[in-house]
């Protein structure tokens, strides 16, 4: 039987949780890809902001450029993830462009499992526990998705109560009569 092929989506801030869960659930002989999707948003904003100064900026300042910094840190991040996982059969993949699409494309050929983290509202269970990019990936992934709570998993009691407007009012008896205690 072919080995299981798994992708762990390594994202700044939440990668540790994904690695720990992967260690628990992936079989020892799984082929694992550590995937990092870089986005140039922040770097572009940092560099373009000086255009707002109407030319009062001095290009070519000392120190490494921001592109180089993100590059080095992405490599460093993958190395740290590799060490935390501590397994032999590993591949690193770095993709760029629109993060959510790049990640889905990386799952295209024969990937069995994606491990990624929730990054939305983490104060309670649902309904917005996924950020926009992660939601896109979960919606479109052509494989099984393992969703990890990065910090502590919220209590079941944190689920918001059902909305009021769903109850029928003034039209005969409600489906479940309100309890008076």
């Amino acid at each position: 039987m072919a080995h299981m092929r798994a992708v762990i989506w390594i994202v700044e801030g939440t990668w540790q949780g994904c690695i720990d869960v992967a260690l628990g659930i992936l079989p020892g002989d799984a082929e694992v890809v550590l995937l990092h999707a870089g986005s140039a948003d922040a770097q572009q904003a940092a560099e373009a902001a000086s255009a707002g100064l109407l030319g009062r900026h001095r290009p070519g300042r000392g120190g490494p450029g921001l592109v180089q910094v993100s590059d080095e840190e992405a490599e460093g991040l993958l190395t740290a993830a590799e060490q935390r996982l501590g397994r032999g059969e590993l591949r690193r993949v770095r993709v760029g462009g629109r993060v959510e699409r790049a990640v889905v494309e990386a799952l295209a050929d024969g990937v069995d499992v994606l491990v990624c983290a929730r990054d939305g509202d983490r104060s309670r269970l649902g309904p917005h526990s996924l950020g926009p990019a992660t939601r896109f990936v979960v919606d479109h992934a052509p494989c099984t998705v393992v969703l990890v709570w990065p910090d502590e998993t919220p209590d079941v009691g944190s689920i918001p109560p059902p909305p009021h407007h769903e109850r029928p009012h003034h039209h005969g008896p409600p489906h479940s009569p309100p309890r008076h205690t």
């Binding site: 700044e12 801030g13 940092a46 707002g52 300042r61 840190e73 910090d151």
Partner: protein, 415 residues
């Protein structure tokens, strides 16, 4: 030349000057078009030599002040100030992205207020980017916070923004009084930005960063000189001397040892002075004076409400924000200032709230700049631009309203 033709020619010259300043083809300084355009204004007799000289004279102290502050910030960087700030916010965050964002807000607000928005954009933002990357967190919220704080955080002092410097004299306020009245709007603007960004970036403020262990050398000398310069701003202002001398003093005290120890060369000090930019300000001043003189001033005066009722202040702030997004904030303040001048500090300060906060709508300073760049560099509008515009569309109206309301209260409490 006078009347409508003169107004038309002035507007064309203004558009050419601004377009060139935004694009800077081949990295040429923006003065390359601004100064000849100002010469055209004179040659065609649209502004008399005396009027032009008066305009340049009234701008001179402001330009000197700006030059001193630009050099001061650059020298503070050479003394290791911004490197240390990066280390401190990393250590202070203890790995939490939200705590880090709070520290970025606080430091960027202070850096902008004391060393001007240029220091935040040019010197602090790259440091924040590197710091967040090294913590292995997502850098978007923190970098966007810097760009927003560079604008919204520039309300506090005359020195915080070139727009403030330009309007400072017209406000009729002392340095200390300016700061006293604007303290509340400044804090309210920062708080409003915080509330919006904290929610907007929930999904990027996630997880825990790895704090690098390193000893941070405190740049005591630079910090002491900047603190003394700040005190100097108030003291000179009370004594009736231009606060530019305090900035100059600070730059000298930081500059001499830095030059002696070769931390900076004379050439680099010259580059930090940015003489071509200063020439650009003079040229722009002359062109805008011509635009105002031939009809725009009276046209704008008709739509700007008088008095300092809350409604009037809000109208001025929103109008100023719109104009700033059409022609950039520097020309906006030059255009609108003559209309509100002489009506007391309220309208002038509301104008500043508008031209300072308004540019947050687009990350390059104004919607006009954004369009120029997109059109002429053949870029499509990418998702990150759309996201930034969405953020601005939320924060700008809220921040403008909250800060202007705070100004209205402040004017009544302080005055």
């Amino acid at each position: 030349m006078s009347g409508l033709p003169a107004e038309f020619v002035s507007l064309v010259l203004l558009a050419a000057t601004l377009g060139f300043a935004v694009l800077r083809p081949r990295g040429l300084p923006e003065a390359v078009v601004a100064v000849p355009a100002a010469a055209v204004v004179l040659a065609l007799g649209m502004l008399s030599f005396h009027e032009a000289r008066a305009e340049v004279r009234s701008l001179a102290p402001t330009v000197a002040f700006l030059a001193a502050v630009l050099v001061l910030a650059e020298l503070a960087d050479r003394h290791g100030l911004f490197h240390a700030l990066g280390g401190w916010i990393a250590a202070g965050s203890r790995g939490s992205p939200v705590r880090l964002l709070a520290l970025v807000f606080a430091i960027a607000g202070l850096v902008t207020a004391v060393l001007s928005l240029d220091a935040t954009v040019v010197l602090f933002t790259p440091v924040v980017f590197r710091t967040v990357a090294r913590l292995r967190l997502r850098s978007k919220p923190h970098v966007y916070a810097c760009t927003h704080m560079a604008n919204s955080g520039s309300l506090l002092l005359p020195v915080s923004n070139l727009t403030n410097l330009l309007a400072f004299k017209a406000s009729g306020l002392s340095f200390a009084r300016f700061g006293a009245i604007m303290a509340l709007p400044w804090i309210v603007a920062i708080a409003a930005e915080w509330v919006v960004m904290r929610r907007f970036f929930t999904s990027d403020l996630v997880g825990r960063g790895t704090v690098p262990r390193e000893r941070i050398e405190a740049p005591r000398f630079a910090l002491a000189v900047i603190a003394l310069t700040l005190v100097g701003f108030f003291v000179t202002s009370v004594a009736g001397i231009s606060p530019a001398y305090a900035a100059l003093g600070g730059a000298l005290v930081l500059g001499v040892p830095a030059l002696a120890r070769s931390r900076i060369s004379v050439r680099e000090v010259g580059a930090a002075l940015d003489v071509p930019f200063l020439a650009f300000v003079f040229g722009l001043g002359v062109i805008v004076a011509s635009v105002s003189a031939h009809g725009l001033e009276s046209a704008l005066a008709r739509i700007v409400p008088g008095g300092d009722s809350l409604l009037a202040l809000l109208a001025i702030a929103f109008l100023a924000a719109i104009v700033a997004n059409v022609v950039n904030n520097l020309p906006a303040v030059l255009l609108l200032l003559p209309i509100v001048v002489g009506t007391g500090p309220g309208p002038v300060l509301a104008l500043l709230i508008g031209v300072n906060v308004g540019p947050n709508l687009a990350y390059v300073g104004s919607l006009a700049t954004l369009l120029w760049r997109r059109i002429l560099q053949h870029h499509g509008v990418d998702p990150s631009t759309l996201e930034f515009l969405r953020l601005g569309a939320i924060t700008v109206p809220i921040t403008l309203t909250a800060a202007t309301l705070a100004l209205w209260i402040s004017l009544r409490v302080v005055a």
